[in-house]
């Protein structure tokens, strides 16, 4: 009999029986002046230019119409103790489309598969600037080429394309499933956290990190609202 599966089963029973789970929700608001989004000139590669009818701007700071900040990575930093989480079987997709990365900020679990796709009829290369995980730098010269990667260690790192110097994205790797990226409404939800005390961290590529302590009660969840300020 597999001892580990017994242990996991016991843990699941314990979780279900004793500590009920709750969601941590919140939003990331933004005040002050955001830098004017920089126009991206794609002249170096005509294939890129052709794919855009409207001017393209950088995604370093994207303030939503409701005054919230997009592309903020929110995750549990501390409080999960020694719990272990198996990676989900579902793959995540990371695409190079119109000479930009979609999504611009992505969260993934340790061991989970990431499928990197070139959706453009031009050469891209994905160069990871990871520190904990092994770096890679793979060219995808043809449209539709795919590359599958997994990461072993938690960290947030940058990904860039060397052909198109404006292309950059960030990938956050976590040892647990409790992370989210803010979208067009600036809100997030970390689902089904077991009751307990947690440190939640927000990460933004320009404005850095903020942390907040929350308590997830046995019944119901908790709220964590972050505020970033432009200068």
């Amino acid at each position: 009999m597999n001892c580990r599966s017994v242990a996991v089963a016991a843990l699941l029973i314990a979780c279900a029986g004793v500590a009920t789970a709750g969601d941590v929700t919140g939003k990331v608001s933004f005040s002050g002046n955001a830098p004017k989004p920089a126009r991206i000139m794609m002249n170096a590669d005509p294939v890129c230019v052709k794919q855009h009818k409207t001017p393209v701007v950088g995604e370093e700071v994207v303030v939503n119409p409701n005054g919230t900040l997009k592309n903020v990575l929110i995750y549990v930093k501390e409080g999960l103790g020694s719990r272990k989480f198996d990676p989900p079987a579902a793959k995540l997709e990371f695409e190079q489309k119109g000479c930009q990365y979609t999504p611009h900020v992505l969260g993934i679990q340790v061991g989970q598969e990431l499928e990197i796709v070139n959706g453009d009829p031009t050469l891209h290369n994905v160069h990871s600037l990871s520190k904990e995980n092994a770096q890679f730098n793979v060219a995808q010269p043809k449209q539709g080429m795919k590359l599958t990667k997994k990461f072993d260690k938690p960290e947030v790192f940058k990904v860039k394309c060397e052909v198109h110097t404006w292309m950059s994205a960030y990938i956050g790797v976590f040892s647990h499933p409790y992370f989210a990226v803010t979208a067009d409404d600036g809100s997030f939800r970390l689902k089904n956290l077991p009751a307990g005390d947690y440190t939640i961290e927000a990460w933004h590529e320009k404005y850095g990190t903020q942390t907040m302590k929350v308590k997830v009660a046995a019944s119901g969840g908790a709220t964590a609202d972050f505020k970033y300020e432009g200068k």
Partner: protein, 868 residues
């Protein structure tokens, strides 16, 4: 008067009580001796018992984990399958086949025998028949007999071949059953490999005998008569876990050695432990073995980083060892601090002086500055490598007087006013981008120094340079440093006149705001000058500086050749109260070289400002300076190749290539001020494998000028300076790079390399498919001033004359392996080609094809010649 003795005659007295009591004492004493010998004096037995418990527990944990990880359903299934396959061997089918097989074999043997008999009879008949023919009378009877025998043989033969077929088919049946069992057995073994491994280890640990573990090196040491002397090493008696991964985090003496990779090269099973760690190898108690608590042990254990001193024993001629960064950095500290200027140090007697020439110093700066500098160099520049001699005002005045006197007589002229018209802001930008900051700190810009982690700078800090030298001098210097100082290691950054004016303008603004008071100096008196000359000789200034009239001075201080074995009794501790040990003496001396000075004993060694880390490193180097030498076969041969490497390495150190480049895993300190690795100067450890020797020669002679058609990496703002190397230096560097890549200098006609005509067009099509041209401009070099299409990657028209053909293949296979952090991506991840239809999807062939195309780019004239 005598007291009356016992009336009983001696024969009748009974001494058994005494006898028993003393016999008892004797018995107890014997018992005590046995216990003491077996238990008390063998503490290692307890250590081994504890180890056994600990190791068994740790290994059992691994075993349990392996069991937990074991795919139990697969195990059940495989075991069932194995049992089934073994069972099936007792099935009627198998039994029938086996019985049939045995029967057939028996019949086959019989049939063979019958055939042999028939053959013998046939031979006999044949003989007689032939004989009758010879005798002229054919014997029909024999002929008949012969025919009968032959037909009998044929019938046996037929039976044999039938039986053989039958046997083979039965054997095939048997083998099917047997193979199934074997297959299941080996699958089960594979599945249980890990559990079985740990099971075996646990059993071995549990049953390990309690015994002394000893390594004997028969011929490592020599006695004073130069005969081989055995070295006995019993460290592993207690340090049993040195090779067990599970013992990584446990306390000593059970812990695994922290550097398994190093042990793979220096096997403790053969070399023992004391060869590196020292200590009393034969001892069996920790205190004696380690030599603790008593200053008179001959070989105390080397503690902390001191253990790296041992590398010198066998590698004394190498300034860098790949597996020993501490050793290498200790050596570099010695070289950079210029210790060899005053002390004779083996291997470093041929290095260039580390300080600047002083022959023209009066043309560079004014006497007031020289005086203040001689008085205390750290006052002007706290991170200078020049140590403080703590000269008095009078001494400093005399030395200044001598220097001013000899140098003002030297001919040196510079253009006056040529510097005028520079733009300080532009100059600042240049200083911050072309690479000056890699060696010179300015004000707050100290990141490189911090990354380097040394207490000293490799080039003068420029924060106050505007108060030291005039704009005229700066302009002359930055345009060509060798004009003022022909032996300087400051390279030429090929500034244009305009750039030089800008830089001069900026540097001239860097003033010393502290306004030191002027001191009235008497510099002209002959007596003062004479006294200065004496002081300079006495204190050995010419060990670091080239000074007119003192070019051939010998070293002023002692040789360090056996300093590591200097005895404490030979060391003078002055009035200090520090513990009398070698280590304490050396540390105190390096911290403050005048620490042991008394009113009677004057010390002349100048005071360095080493950090504690540097003191530890210098100390370990000193510890390594011994005459202990093992038998020649243990010493790393300093053969031609090693000599070439070491010679080139010293030149690389002298010009400080490592400040910007990564070389032998050292350096690249400029990365402190360049964020993106793509903009860093390249890693050059593998340069020998990469570039053609004639190209390297031309490049080192005259590195390409930024922005010119020859620029290899137009995207770099940092400039590869011109070091004005001599041909001999370039040749030494070339051999060094070749040596690092395990190559020899040989005459190769790189132009003779011909692309494969079949692969060439394929390579061209892959080159197009991969869109290489997106980043690599590969047309003719752009004319000056013409906008380039791309500045992302080197222009490939130069590949043919620059790169070694075999290197291109290696590069294309995995660029990051050769140049970590390069922007060049791999097109063949995990060695797989993304083009399955080209050249049968063979990545290696495709890479060769690309290479063949790349070397043909930009060579139209050549290919025309060859086709004509």
């Amino acid at each position: 008067m005598f007291t009356k003795r016992s009336p009983r005659p001696i024969e009748e007295r009974n001494y058994s009580v005494y006898y028993i009591v003393f016999a008892g004492f004797l018995f107890l004493g014997t018992m005590w001796a046995v216990v003491d010998e077996v238990v008390t004096r063998r503490p290692w037995k307890d250590v081994q018992k504890d180890y056994q418990v600990l190791a068994t527990r740790k290994m059992s944990e691994q075993y349990d984990q392996a069991v937990a990880e074991l795919d139990s359903s697969a195990l059940v299934e495989l075991s069932a399958r194995l049992a089934a396959s073994q069972d099936s061997m007792s099935s009627p089918v198998y039994a029938a086949a086996l019985a049939g097989y045995d029967g057939v074999r028996e019949s086959l043997a019989k049939e063979n025998r019958r055939y042999q008999f028939a053959k013998s009879r046939g031979d006999e008949a044949y003989y007689f028949y032939k004989k009758s023919l010879h005798e002229g009378e054919e014997n029909p009877k024999e002929k008949e007999r012969l025919a009968g025998d032959e037909s009998e043989m044929a019938s046996h033969q037929a039976a044999i071949s039938t039986l053989e077929k039958e046997r083979d088919s039965l054997l095939a049946v048997l083998n099917r059953y047997r193979a199934e069992v074997r297959k299941n057995q080996s699958a089960l073994t594979d599945l249980r490999k890990k559990t079985d491994k740990w099971d075996a280890k646990v059993k071995k640990a549990e049953g390990a005998p309690i015994e002394i573990k000893q390594v004997m090196l028969v011929d490592y040491d020599k006695n004073p008569f130069n005969d081989a002397k055995a070295r006995i090493d019993r460290c592993q008696t207690c340090h049993q876990g040195w090779n067990e991964d599970v013992m990584e985090d446990v306390p000593q003496p059970y812990r695994r050695h922290p550097l398994p990779a190093l042990l793979a090269l220096h096997k403790p099973e053969i070399m023992g432990c004391t060869t590196c760690h020292r200590g009393q190898g034969t001892a069996l108690t920790a205190a004696t073995a380690h030599g603790e608590g008593d200053p008179f042990w001959e070989n105390p254990l080397l503690k902390g980083i001191d253990v790296w001193a041992s590398c010198t024993t066998c590698h004394e001629n190498q300034s860098h060892l790949d597996g020993a960064p501490v050793y290498s950095s200790a050596r570099r500290t010695i070289i950079e601090s210029g210790c060899f200027g005053c002390h004779e140090i083996k291997g470093y007697t041929d290095l260039q002086r580390i300080g600047p020439e002083l022959g023209k110093i009066a043309h560079k700066t004014d006497p007031q500055w020289i005086f203040r500098w001689v008085r205390n160099p750290k006052e002007y520049n706290p991170h200078t490598r020049m140590p403080n001699f703590r000269f008095s005002d009078d001494q400093a005045e005399a030395i200044t007087a001598y220097l001013v006197d000899v140098s003002s007589r030297a001919p040196f002229t510079i253009a006056h006013g040529a510097y005028a018209g520079g733009n300080a802001a532009k100059g600042k930008e240049l200083v911050e981008s072309v690479g000056c900051l890699a060696c010179h700190s300015i004000g707050e810009q100290t990141k490189v120094r911090e990354l380097r982690g040394s207490s000293y700078d490799m080039a003068p800090e420029l924060t106050r340079v505007g108060s030291k030298v005039t704009p005229d001098w700066i302009y002359d210097w930055v345009r060509n440093p060798r004009h003022y100082n022909p032996t300087t290691k400051m390279p030429n950054l090929r500034l244009t006149d305009g750039e030089a004016r800008d830089v001069t303008s900026y540097l001239s603004t860097l003033k010393d705001g502290r306004a030191p008071g002027e001191k009235i100096l008497d510099l002209g008196t002959a007596a003062t000058i004479k006294r200065g000359e004496g002081l300079i000789r006495e204190y050995g200034c010419s060990g670091c500086h080239l000074i007119p009239g003192m070019e051939k001075e010998s070293r002023v201080s002692v040789s360090l050749s056996n300093f590591g074995r200097k005895r404490v009794e030979e060391m003078d501790f002055g009035d200090t109260k520090i513990p009398h040990t070698w280590q304490e003496w050396v540390s105190a001396k390096l911290k403050n070289s005048r620490a042991f000075q008394t009113d009677r004993i004057v010390q002349k060694m100048p005071v360095f400002s080493f950090s504690d880390d540097e003191i530890a490193r210098v100390r370990l180097f000193l510890l390594s300076q011994t005459k202990d030498q093992p038998d020649a076969r243990y010493i790393q041969a300093f053969d031609a190749k090693q000599q070439q490497i070491e010679t080139g390495r010293k030149i690389a150190y002298q010009y400080n290539c490592q400040q910007c480049h990564q070389l032998e895993n050292e350096g690249r300190f400029i990365s402190a001020i360049i964020d993106d690795p793509a903009f860093l100067p390249p890693i050059i450890t593998g340069e020998g494998k990469k570039v053609q020797e004639p190209w390297l020669h031309d490049f080192l002679k005259n590195p390409s000028v930024a922005g010119s058609p020859n620029t290899i990496r137009p995207w770099l703002k940092t400039r590869m300076p011109t070091f004005s190397l001599t041909d001999a230096e370039i040749s030494a560097l070339t051999k060094y790079f070749l040596g690092l890549s395990n190559q020899e200098l040989e005459l190769r006609d790189y132009r003779a390399f011909q692309p494969d005509p079949v692969l060439l067009p394929v390579g061209k099509s892959i080159f197009t498919d991969f869109q290489c041209i997106k980043c690599h401009p590969s047309g003719p070099p752009p004319r000056p001033g013409e906008a380039t299409t791309s500045d992302l990657a080197p222009n490939l028209t130069k590949a043919r004359d620059r790169l070694k053909p075999e290197w291109i293949v290696e590069w294309l296979a995995d660029p990051n392996k050769l140049q970590e952090g390069t922007r060049m991506p791999t097109f063949f991840p995990d060695g797989q080609s993304p083009l399955p239809d080209v050249l049968g999807g063979d990545a290696r062939r495709q890479i060769t094809a690309i290479r063949d195309y790349v070397v043909s780019i930009g060579q139209p004239a050549r290919s025309q010649v060859s086709t004509r």
